[in-house]
Amino acid sequence: MIDALVAGLRANSCSVWGPMSDEVARGKVVERVSAHLLVACNDDVPIPGIVDALRERGVDVLTPGDPAWTERLADAEVGITGSRLAVAEPSTIALAAAPGAPRATSLVPPVHICVVSVDALVPTLADAMMGIAAGEMPSALTWIGGPSRTGDLEMITTLGVHGPRAVEIVLLG
C-alpha cells in the first residue's frame, strides 16, 4: 500500500520522503525549507516541535493564529500542512479545513509540503469515502494528488498554474 502511494504520487510529479521517524522528518522539513525566508505552517502538522525547530534555524514561520496571517500568506514561499487520511490508489492525500488548518496554506505558496503518517493510509478511494461519510464532514475536505497543473495549452502539461508548482510529501512511520 505504501509502495503504491509513493509510486502514484511520484508519477504525478510529487516528491516523496520517508516513511521516517518524527525526529528524522523534523530534520528533513527543516532542511527543505531552511533556505526560505517566510514559511506558513498549519497547527496540525504531526511533527512535534516543528515550528520551534524552523525558527531556531532562522526561518520566519507564519502560523494561522497570527493576526497578519491573511496579508502575509501571499509572501510565504512554502506552506506546510498535516493530513490524517491518504489513499493508496488513486494516490491522493486529504486535508481537512479546521481552525488552525486554513485551506489556503496548501494553495497560495508556490511550494506545498504535506506531512502524513502511514497509519492514515487506506487502500482505495471507495474505502476512504465509506469511512468519512460515516463521520462528520469538515467544511472543506481537499484531496491533493500533485502540483497544480493544466493541459489547456495544446494539451501539454504545464505545472503551477494557480496552486503550488511543487508538492512534497513527508511520510511518517
Binding site: A74, P99, G145, S148, D152, M155, G160, V161
Partner: protein, 467 residues
Amino acid sequence: MSDTVPRHTGGHAITTPGDDFHERTASAVADPILQRALHNLDRRLRTANESAAAHPEWKDRAAAIRRETLLDLDGWLDRLEHSLVARGVHVHRASTPADARRTIVELAQARGARTVVKSKSMATEEIDLGNALEDAGLTSVETDLGEYIVQLAGERPSHMITPAIHKTLPQIRDVLAREAGTDLAVDREALTAWARDRLRGEFLRADIGITGVNFAAADTGTLVLVTNEGNGRFCTTLPRVHVAVMPVEKVIPRLADVGILLPLLTTHATGQALSNYVTMISGPRRAGETDGPDELHVVFLDNRRRTLLGTRYEEMLACIRCGACLNVCPVYRNVSGHAYDSVYSGPMGKVLTPLLSGGTEGADLPYGSTLCHACSDACPVKIPLGDMILALRADVPDPQSGARRRRRIFWAVWARAWSTPRGYKLTTALARMSHGRVPGLRAWTSTRELPRPARESFRDRWAKEHV
C-alpha cells in the same frame, strides 16, 4: 489568428462560420489552423482510453448509481436540499436559465459585489451567466486557464474539459499579449506565469466565487468539485460568498458513491487516475476557521431536465460531463466545438442541445452524425448516445436541410479523415478500440465479419522501433 472573420452571435464570436451545422462543418474542415490545433486531441485520446480500459466493472457500477438516482430524482433533490440547509447552505431552485441568472445577479447586487471569479462550469455557460453579470455592471472573470483565454478572445469553450483546444500556442500568445499590452513569448511556462499573476489579483479582489458542481451527495450535503489548476479552490477559499450552479442531475444518493464515480470521471476526462484536486465542500466556513466563504449558495438548475424523466431520453441525465464521447467522435475530432454553435458539443451536445431547448436549438445536429456509435462505446455511464441521436431524427425534424446536405457533411468529414495520415491513424485506432468495428460501419459489420485489426498497427510499431 485564423483567417476566418469571427462572427458574433449572442455575445460570442464564432470562429467557425456557416449558417447551419453542415456549413460550419465544411468550414471547420477547411480551416488549416484549426486542423493543426485539433491534432492535439490525439494526445488525450490515447491516455484517456488506456486508463479508462483499466476497470471495466466500474462502468456497470457507475451506470447503476446514476440510474438509481434518476428513478427518484425529485426525492434525492429533496434529500439534498434538506442536508444542505441543515449545514447552513442557501438553496435556490431555478426552473429556467433566466430564473438562475436573476437569482445570482440579485444576490450579487444585494451584497454590493463588483468582481466575480468563475471556475470552469458548463452549467454557467448553459445559462450564459458571465454575460448576464457583465450586463448587470459586474466584472466576471473566468479563471480556468483555457476558459480565460476563450473569454479574452470573446469566444465560447470548444471542449468541455479543454476549452481552448481549438487554439494553437501562437494564437494563445496573441490573445494573452493583447490583454497584457506587452509582447509575450510563445512559451507555455511564460504564458502560464503571466496568467497566474494576473488571475491572482482577480482572486484577491473578488467578492463572489462561482463554480459548477461535479457531484452533490444527498446524504451528507456535500458538493464535490474536480479541478487540476487550483482555480476552483481559489474560488471557494478567498471570496466571502460562494455560489455553486448545480444542474439537477448532479445529485448522487450517497457521498460513498464518489468512490466509484470520481475515478471514472477523471480517467475518462483526462486519463488521470484522479484529478490533482478534489474539493468536498460541506457548508460555509465554520467558527474559528481562517478562510472559506461566509455564505454558500447552491442554485438547482432544471432547464427542462425533469421533463426528460420517463422519456426515452431520460438516460441522458446520467451524463457526468467527462468529454470522452467528444474525444472519440470522428465528427467532433475533425470540426471541433464551435461548429456545433451550442454550449454542449460532440455527441452529448447533439442529444442535449435540442432537448434542453425544446427543439428550438441544434435541431440539425442529430443529422450530422456518422452513427458509428463510438460515443456509446466510450461513455463511462453507458448512455446509448448513438441510439438517442437516431431517435432524435424522428422526434425533432431537421429544420432546413435535405438529404443532400446531410450527405455532404458525411463526405466532407470522411473524405478528410481518410485522406490524411492523421485521419487514417485515428480511424484505424478507433477500429482497434472498438474491436473490429470500423466507426461508421456498425450496422454493416454487425452482420458481417470484418478482419480484426492487429493490436498494434504497422505505423505504431514503426514509430516505436525508430525513436
